[in-house]
């Protein structure tokens, strides 16, 4: 496997190709520290190894030298990225050719004046207009290919995708504003998928797509350079993301271990004091009587010392499209909480209609803390809800309990009650 040093200035989209390929191949590619653009790459020593004097340039640990980003990316890649057979590899070369010959010149002619990398002369202005049209032609070709293909070659991510995405990186960040890119839905889908792959994110960080096109500054454009700098700061969160991803995994393992260790049947509520509230009696009353009787009965018998009341609200209402899906979400959760039934009661309601609904409910269980962490069996769903413990002595709680137990009222934004499910 290739290992070595990559010479480049920071945030170079060409260097990114090699660094992403190295992520996929798990190749050990380090970026040369102390590289100064225009100095290091013009030094005698550098020119001896890399006569072109351009970056990125690669020096392998066993003394091989390479220039040109695509060649370096190929060298540090793995089999998946290089194509499974000659035909796939040939197609990859074809798309790399397209990315360099059709996409990049137009992309640079549009992006560089905007970023103030080249001066905005009359000539640049003309090239700038032509670039927008040229890029549109290239994107149209890509768009129809990506209508029927998930990735450019062979239904999996290859160097073709990496090179193309890197050549389109600056346009997507700085100039392809929403209206311009709208007709290219398939390219947008493909590009967003790529920049969100962990291997790509590790190199590029979070890429924010352009929300309004920057236009080329009239003359020198120093202001824009600052903006570029600001945007370049964004990749920072990338260092934290892998850590975050790790934690829940460990939690899961701990839960699994607990699951394996614990005898299946034990009811965690058994360890808590019984108190005076009899859950079964209340449930019987609730099932057989009208709420005008069962709700006063609840308050008369409720034992705040040993039981608690909670409000739980589904965190992702934007994701709820169909009402029937939401109802299944509730009943599915109840099913998974089966063993909690004995000492818990809940009324969970769906408010609103298709594509505009929320889920929330009132829960009562034994003990003062959130019950779900008590058993690994109960942990599938509760993270999808926000939980708030209610003070049983306030009028607000009385009203909430009344509304939810009797299936009346609205959610907090005024959506009408649609359906309710009782956990008992």
């Amino acid at each position: 496997m290739a290992a070595g040093t990559l010479y480049t200035y920071p945030d170079n989209f060409r260097a990114a190709k090699a660094l992403i390929a190295a992520q996929y191949a798990k190749a050990n590619v380090k970026v040369a520290p102390n590289f100064v653009f225009g100095e290091t790459n013009k030094s005698k020593e550098f020119l001896k190894k890399f006569p072109g004097g351009k970056v990125p340039a690669f020096e392998s640990n066993d003394g091989k030298y390479l220039q040109d980003s695509n060649a370096i990316a190929y060298f540090v890649a793995n089999e998946q990225l290089r194509g499974r057979n000659e035909y796939d590899t040939a197609q990859i070369l074809q798309w790399i050719g397209f990315a360099e010959g059709e996409v990049l010149p137009a992309a640079c002619a549009w992006v560089f004046p905007v970023l103030g990398i080249i001066k905005n002369s009359a000539g640049a202005q003309e090239a700038f207009q032509r670039a927008k049209d040229d890029l549109r032609v290239a994107l149209t070709v890509l768009n129809s290919h990506l209508l029927t293909h998930t990735y450019l070659v062979g239904e999996r991510i290859t160097l073709a995708d990496i090179v193309m995405a890197c050549n389109l990186l600056n346009p997507y960040k700085y100039t392809l504003e929403p209206d311009y890119r709208k007709p290219f839905a398939n390219v947008n889908r493909w590009f967003t998928t790529l920049i969100n792959q962990p291997e790509v994110k590790a190199v590029l960080g979070d890429v924010v797509l352009c929300s309004a096109a920057l236009s080329a500054p009239p003359q020198e454009g120093k202001g824009k350079k600052k903006e570029e700098k600001k945007e370049k700061k964004q990749p920072q969160p990338k260092k934290e993301t892998p850590k975050k991803e790790k934690e829940p995994e460990e939690e899961l393992d701990a839960a699994d271990a607990a699951l394996a260790a614990e005898p299946k049947s034990r009811d965690p509520f058994d360890l808590m004091p019984k108190g005076t509230f009899n859950m079964d009696d209340f449930k019987r009353c609730y099932s057989n009587e009208d709420e005008s009787k069962s709700i006063p009965y609840f308050w008369e018998k409720f034992d705040p010392e040993n039981y608690s009341i909670w409000y739980g609200e589904y965190k992702y209402p934007e994701e709820l499209s169909k009402v029937f899906m939401s109802c299944n979400l509730i009943t599915g959760m109840f099913q998974r909480l089966d063993k909690m039934r004995k000492h818990a009661f809940a009324s969970v309601c769906l408010f609103g209609e298709d594509n505009n609904s929320t889920i929330s409910g009132i829960w009562v269980w034994r003990g003062q803390d959130l019950a779900f962490p008590l058993s690994p069996d109960w942990q599938i769903d509760y993270e999808s809800y926000n939980w708030k413990k209610l003070d049983p002595n306030t009028d607000e709680t009385k009203k909430l309990v009344g509304d939810y137990f009797s299936w009346t009222g609205t959610d907090k934004d005024g959506r009408k009650f649609n359906q309710g499910k009782i956990f008992k």
Binding site: T148, Y151, R156, R189, D256, M325, Q335
Partner: protein
């Protein structure tokens, strides 16, 4: 008619490399089976225990992604399993086609159990789609084709032909 869960659960279990036994559907249409040493009740619960058992990357550690995956599983087993009734076919295909217009996979940016389950559920229906329908629901076709290229997902199922040459040449006139 509803698809029998036996087939798609077995395929999913094979893909996840987790042994399941005794898949049964009782009179009240509740499905049970044995995963490892445990008896599990309810299709979603079965799927989730398969995932836990396999430690597969098809599940997620992110709460939002988990929630979305669960919603798709519900969609799959409540709704998409009725795809063999012709009045449902169109609705299901256009639901999916709309979502997949801007997405490569159903949830997040990677393959999850949501895609794989839907693949197994839709298999026969997609295989019997006409070329015209494959073209009409192009995003579903593209998504399905991508899934079936993964041999461990496809297993012994037939490769559905999307003849992309034919499809592209006939769509190009449209675009």
């Amino acid at each position: 008619m509803v698809l029998n869960p036996q087939r798609y659960l077995t395929q999913l279990a094979t893909f996840l490399n987790v042994p399941v036994k005794n898949i049964k559907v009782n009179e009240t249409l509740i499905c049970t089976c044995t995963v490892g040493n445990n008896t599990v009740k309810g299709i979603i619960n079965i799927i989730i225990s398969l995932l836990m058992e396999s430690k597969s990357s098809l599940w997620s550690t992110d709460p939002l992604e988990k929630a979305e995956i669960q919603q798709w599983l519900e969609y799959g087993i409540v709704y998409a399993v009725h795809i063999d009734e012709s009045q449902n076919l169109k609705g299901i295909l256009s639901d999916l086609n709309d979502i997949l217009a801007i997405k490569t996979y159903l949830v997040s940016y990677k393959l999850t159990v949501a895609d794989v389950l839907l693949y197994y559920i839709l298999l026969n229906a997609v295989a019997s789609m006409s070329y015209l329908d494959k073209q009409k629901y192009m995003n579903v076709s593209r998504w399905f084709d991508n899934l079936q290229q993964e041999s461990c997902v496809r297993q012994n199922n037939q490769i559905v032909d999307f003849s992309t040459n034919y499809l592209t040449s006939s769509t190009q006139s449209k675009y």
